[in-house]
Amino acid sequence: MKGFKQHALLPTPQHDEQARQDFVGALRGHLSGRVMPGNYQLFERRVAPRFAAEHGRPPGEEQEIRDWMTREPYYQFWSALQRRSQELLWESVIDPTEREWSELIQRARGGKSTKASKRGSLRLNPSLTVPRYHAAADIHLQPGGYHTDFTSDDIAAGAIYDKGINLYMGGALGSENDLMGNTLLAYLRERHPSHQPKRILDLGCAIGNSTVVWARAFPKAEVHGIDIGAPVLRYAHARAEALGAAVHFSQQNAEGTDFADESFDLVISHIVLHETSKSALVRILAECRRLLKPGGLMLHLEIPRGRTPIEKFMHNWESYNNNETFSRYMTRIDLPAEARKAGFAADEISLEEFVPKMDVAQMNYTQHFFWKILVGHKHGAA
């Protein structure tokens, strides 16, 4: 994909592997740009009028739309190809990773660099239990998920994820998959320009593609990233070192970390909450409040789940077909109410819509794009 920065931890695809990745990118671009919008036309011109003729009212609930749309051949055609393109995407990335697997592990181990030359750190916890919302199904269909070690010191899940999400968004995530980090950073700078964090925690950081953005934006701050997956964290650490960013990665569950009370002035996450569960969500938000210093900020970037019933139905394709099992519940969840359950005062919490002034990619399933940000501003001196 054009503009994607090749670094030491990524495998180098051979001719046919590259051609396969390029075709997957082209196919997905065609599906999202040319085929997917036809589902909205199908709904407006055919499904909604027929539903109204039968029921004497427009379809109201997402489930009603689901019952009708999933019987339509055009929707079936798009859905079948969308699912297959997602599986093909991982296959196209796994092939070169498998070929260079041992070399990539060697490179991640550090090669010539010594401990003293490292900027950040890595702390793993082999006894950590992978939560069910990660273990039950491979999120986004990545075989083995983000947590499976296929050998010792494995980093494959990270290398596969790095190239995979680049293809997933047709390159729109930026040369270092830094779009989400840049978006949330743009929010902080536009809406909270005086906030200068000294300690930053990124929850569910995976390969640290967003965490690195924050480490570069606040070079004097101590930046931490946590995730439940060991292979993605090993990769994140090696990748951050290769990119010259100082980040301290540790394998922890965001529902309960080992950091001290009130030890961060900024706690963030980038499209992570919808990959958890209803009970985990409240525990994560409570943990955020515990970790925040008085005056500290919590920012969770989330993709919108649609304004209209048809948009909600289209968004939830991911939930039913791409192993985003919790995201369909996120459509109905009142995030500020969940934050209040987690101990935030009503006036500490807001849910904001945000479109940064910078260019932002169009997501796959929506007509009107904006980001949602759950903001928590803990009372007390800044």
Partner: protein, 107 residues
């Protein structure tokens, strides 16, 4: 040294949706996308070869377009086409073997 590497699973863990009322149609769509992908890969490879032939050996596109295989080359190509047809029709042979030739086994 790296410890032995377990092969990653071929398929993701989790619910596999069925889009069409007949599962065979889902499988047919999967095959259709895979064929398209491999065709794109072959086109890219042919394009690479043609460009290298022009740059390094001065072979022109007109010469490639005007190429007529002799009998021996044609026979090799025939054999390759037959092999491809055999590979492509594997699911149908399987179906025939399971349901028709040995119909008594599975009914």
């Amino acid at each position: 040294m790296t410890d032995p590497i377990q092969p990653p699973p071929e398929f993701p863990k989790g619910h596999r949706p069925q889009v069409f009322s007949e599962p065979a149609i889902d499988q047919l769509y999967d095959g259709y996308v895979i064929l398209g992908t491999e065709l794109a890969v072959a086109f890219d490879r042919i394009d690479t070869l043609e460009r290298l032939l022009q740059e390094r050996l001065g072979v022109t596109l007109a010469e490639i377009d005007g190429y007529k295989p002799n009998e021996a080359v044609d026979a090799e190509r025939q054999a390759r086409r037959a092999e491809l047809a055999q590979r492509l029709l594997r699911p149908f042979r399987e179906f025939r073997d399971d349901r028709i030739t040995r119909g008594s086994r599975k009914g």
